[in-house]
């Protein structure tokens, strides 16, 4: 059954993926693009392509493509944390990546993902912020992580996390010392060190369809049809370090457990991918 629908942005599209159509697929335990319910899309990862940034990465999860660039600068630390460096993530969802997004200030979804990354960094102690400190109370590194989505096909969260991690592993910072005598900053540009990361998280996102079906790694079309989302983050040792459930439809306990198990397996797969790429 093919109909023409008008989406929220005013676009006209062929709607050969209506609700019923989808349910038919799910009954057979398969999705329109041929995947099983808990199957993830293939991933492509590339680091260091943007030479002007201190560290960069490009991730494709299926069709969703995210580029992350990290710029490192020196600045004075926050008064509340004089010995810690600062990491500032920022996710951009521009009209370039999908007709869903309108030009102008960052939309709600972008802000939510940004906050998610921020929380992730703080709570999981991703980077030892003490390492980023050059001189207590005087000079610290600040890392600006800018993630730009250039092709949006669902599951921006997972792609962002992977791209951020890969970019951080690619960052090289020069050695900095403060010369007491003349109060100037001495930078040894020949001596660069990679960042030390205390943990290497991987996130997996699930969505709930019709209150009972859980699908992993949703595409953009699937995101529109489903309600409720669950994101689980695991680290390299297979422990669950972060979980986010932003409201929506209720979930039953056994579903949550199923998701957790799947997330752990997924975590391991992605870790091997990291290892391969970053060497």
């Amino acid at each position: 059954m093919r109909t023409v629908i008008k989406s929220s942005t005013g676009q006209l599209r062929l709607n050969d993926k209506s609700d019923d159509f989808y349910k038919l697929h799910l009954k057979e335990g398969i999705r329109p693009d041929g995947r099983m319910l808990m199957e993830m899309r293939p991933m492509v990862l590339n680091v260091g392509s943007i030479s002007t940034a201190s560290g960069s990465s490009l991730v494709k999860v299926g069709n969703t493509t995210v580029v992350c660039g990290i710029k490192a600068e020196l600045t004075e630390p926050n008064a509340s944390h004089p010995g810690k460096g600062i990491v500032v993530p920022n996710v951009e969802l521009s009209p370039l990546c999908s007709p869903k997004f309108k030009p102008g200030p960052p939309c709600d979804q972008a802000q939510v993902v940004t906050k998610f990354l921020d929380n992730l960094i703080q709570s999981t102690n991703l980077i030892c912020l003490d390492d980023l400190c050059v001189e207590n109370d005087k000079l610290v590194w600040i890392l600006y992580c800018d993630l730009i989505c250039i092709d949006y096909d669902g599951n921006i969260v997972d792609a962002s996390v992977i791209s951020l991690m890969a970019a951080l592993q690619n960052v090289k910072l020069p050695e900095v010392k403060i010369n007491e005598e003349c109060e100037s900053v001495e930078v040894n540009l020949k001596c660069t060190a990679t960042l030390k990361l205390c943990s290497c998280p991987v996130s997996t996102t699930f969505r709930v369809f019709d209150r009972s079906n859980i699908i992993a790694d949703p595409t953009s079309m699937e995101e529109e049809l489903t309600e409720g989302q669950l994101t689980i983050v695991t680290d390299q040792q297979g422990r669950i370090i972060y979980m986010e459930r932003p409201g929506g439809v209720t979930l039953q306990e056994e579903h949550v457990e199923k998701c957790m198990k799947r997330a752990v397996i997924r975590g391991a797969e992605v870790q091997t991918l990291y290892m391969e790429v970053t060497g």
């Binding site: 030479s51 002007t52 201190s54 600068e73 020196l74 020069p174 010369n179 005598e181 003349c182 540009l189």
Partner: protein
Amino acid sequence: MLKSKVLMVKTRSGKILKIVREHYLRDDIDNGLNGVDLDDHPMLENDLISSEHYIIPDTNVVLKQMDVLEHSCMRNVIILQTVMRETKHRSAPIYKRLRTITQNKDKKFHVFTNEHSIDTWCERRPKESSNDYNDRFIRVATQFYNECLSERNQKAVLLTNDKANCDLAKKEGLLAVTVEDYVRNIVGFPELLDKLAKADEAMEVDKSISYPEHLKLSQLQTGIKSGRFKQGKLNISRQNYLEGKVLPQGEGSKEILIQGRMHLNRAVNEDIVAVEMLPENQWSLPSDVILDVSVQPGAEISESHAEDLKKKHGIPTGKVVGIIKRSWRSYCGILESFGSPDMTRHLFTPAERRIPRIRIETRQAKLLIGQRIVVAIDSWPRFSKYPQGHFVKALGEIGDKDTENKVLLLEHDVAHEPFSQAVLNCLPSANWSIPDEELRKREDLRGLPICSVDPPGCTDIDDCLHLREWTDGNLEVGVHIADVTHFIRPGTALDIEARSRGTTVYLCDKRIDMVPELLSSNLCSLRDDGDRLAFSCIWVMNHNAEIISTRFCKSVIRSKASMTYAQAQMLIDDATQNDDVTIGLRGLNKLAKILKARRTLNGALSLSSPEVRFHVDSETHDPIDLETKKLRDTNSMVEEFMLLANCSVAEKIQKEFSDCAVLRRHPEPPKSNFDVLVNAARTRGLELSINTSRELALSLDEAEKPAENVHPYISVLLRILATRCMYQAVYFCSGLESDFRHYGLAAPIYTHFTSPIRRYSDIMVHRLLAASIGADSTFSDLLNKQEIQQICNNLNFRHRMAQYAQRASVALHTQMFFRGKMVDEQGFIIVVRKNAVQVLIPKYGLEGTVFLDRDHQGNAVGTSNLEYNEDACEIVANGVLLKVFDEVTVQISHDASNIQHQRINLHLMKPKIEGISAP
């Protein structure tokens, strides 16, 4: 193929930036072996190398052994891009010389762009230092050349003094030789060995002296930033070669005094040094003893004298802790005849008194003693009293006029070689005449009563004047200047050479032209023998010399008469002459007087310098007699209109091109500069007021009025002293400066327009003026502010050097004039110092020092019987009082005891002082 160069750079604000640059590798880079740039069969033979070979020097060889490379026998040399890049980074003057040789097709030097060639590219290894990386580049390139040359049975030789590099090269199978070995084994050119700059190790150690070590550059920079050290240029005092002053950078800094050999710590005049201040109790005063190296070579400031100085309240004193930038160049001078001429190590004494003596090694000592030679400094190690250098070339016999002239010109950096072929090619043919289209484009002023007034013997006539009365009672006055820019087009070789020379230099017997003679004395010169192209400035004024309107145009003129000042004066005074040229001259004379009075009222200063002209024997070219310049009415007349023209043009170009006009300004000197003048005047009861130039001009005029006790010549002396208080006038670009005033002329805006034949600044002003009236096309650099300011800086430098050269030439001729003579003459004391007085002899325009601490034989007599009163400008010697402006009689004689600095000796005859005056 594309590679990436990634560098991390720190900006001034402290940010760290990652800069990424593309770097392309090509396979089509010319290696020069096709016979065009390099010879097919290099001729230079060397005992160390069996086959024909090409030379590849590394960076240190280029930096230190430039004189060897410039020698004519060194051909077929390949300079790598890496070496060019490093040389540019480390030394700008050597880079300039390197570029000159590489651009000279005859030298057969080829520059190979090895960093972009796919055959010679190397990737930087991790943790490899830049020096090692560059060395590896050079070795790889040498290897590449070896491979290219192997089929021709020729070799590429790496010249390097770096032992590590040499060893690595030999390991890779390359021929690597040190410069010494190479030069020593060259067949057929033994003189090359003298040109070798010495490596630091082979030094003569003076047991007597050990200078403190210089601090490293990084330590100096840290110190300067923290304020512990101050940076500035060292100026050695002309009176005392062991004393100098450093003016630190930054507003409001005071000069720091550096005294004594140890504190100078191997700094040479004009080096940029880092100075550490001494504690206040060690502050000293500039020595008011005149320490003369030629009379007292090797002398030091005596201990007691040094103590004396310290007792008084001293000025900030310091010591040199490190050298930031050396400003060594080639120096002219002579070889001291020490020991036997068979020894190879000799001491060289430079002509410039402020440079210390230099130790050189040469085999040709026998030949060179008695000649003027040129030497360059290589280094100054800690344990050597004198710096080490090497011989560059010989100029000719000492005392020979041509040689001395050459020395003069070299020391003042005046270009005096004949014009190159490229320059001469820009000239039109000698029988050039005005083409018809030019006649049509210009205003035809050939009917006007135009004439020119110049010094006798002048062939480069820049300017002409005319005056006509109109029927409505107003006067039309015109100044016509030679249209040089019609012949010198921008960007041509002729233009570039003129720009670099900057000005014509007038020595007593020679004139070093800025533009070739064909232009200066013939085509551009406004002679009275036909039609000439000119650039005219025409005013309409009333009889009170007030300008009603001004206009400028390019014109064709025909001068009716080229007169000397004397001839013009005679015409004006002769009542029987009434042709239109003479009437014009009279009118101009009247207007000029009005203009001058107006200028003086506004504060223009008329200052004096004791100018003297030599009559030169036409056979021997030796000076016969001196003639002081007399100022006639006509001199003043021409001067007034030139000034007026310059002012009018300045206003016009400033209006049209407000941010890139070439102007001239004269900064107002600080009041402290006048202290000596005011003190001196006060001793004769004359109060000079110096608040504004107007007050100064008026008080100098007041001083001319006859009064008791005041010799009439004193007013002239006061003017001469006033001239010495002034700053130099300088050229500048109007967009980069806000103060346009000319203090000396009391003009709000001024430029040079009237002498394009002998000054390049006038050529620039001509171009701007022509563009503003639409008479000539513009060109891209006309409006480039930075370029203009750079040219102005060069012109200021050349102008200064020309003045010094001219003065030196006059001194040279004065000496030659007094050879073998002994004359008594009247003079006036112009400056009083602690151990001497300086006397000015008006008849010869000569100024010299009469030492009061030695007798007339030159033996030291001691200063115990000298009482010096600085404020009163007087000194009592053996009971006789000598005050400033006193009239004295001196005996002038020529002293050839020091060959290099032959001098005029002045001995006091009247007033007679026991033990000092000549009998």
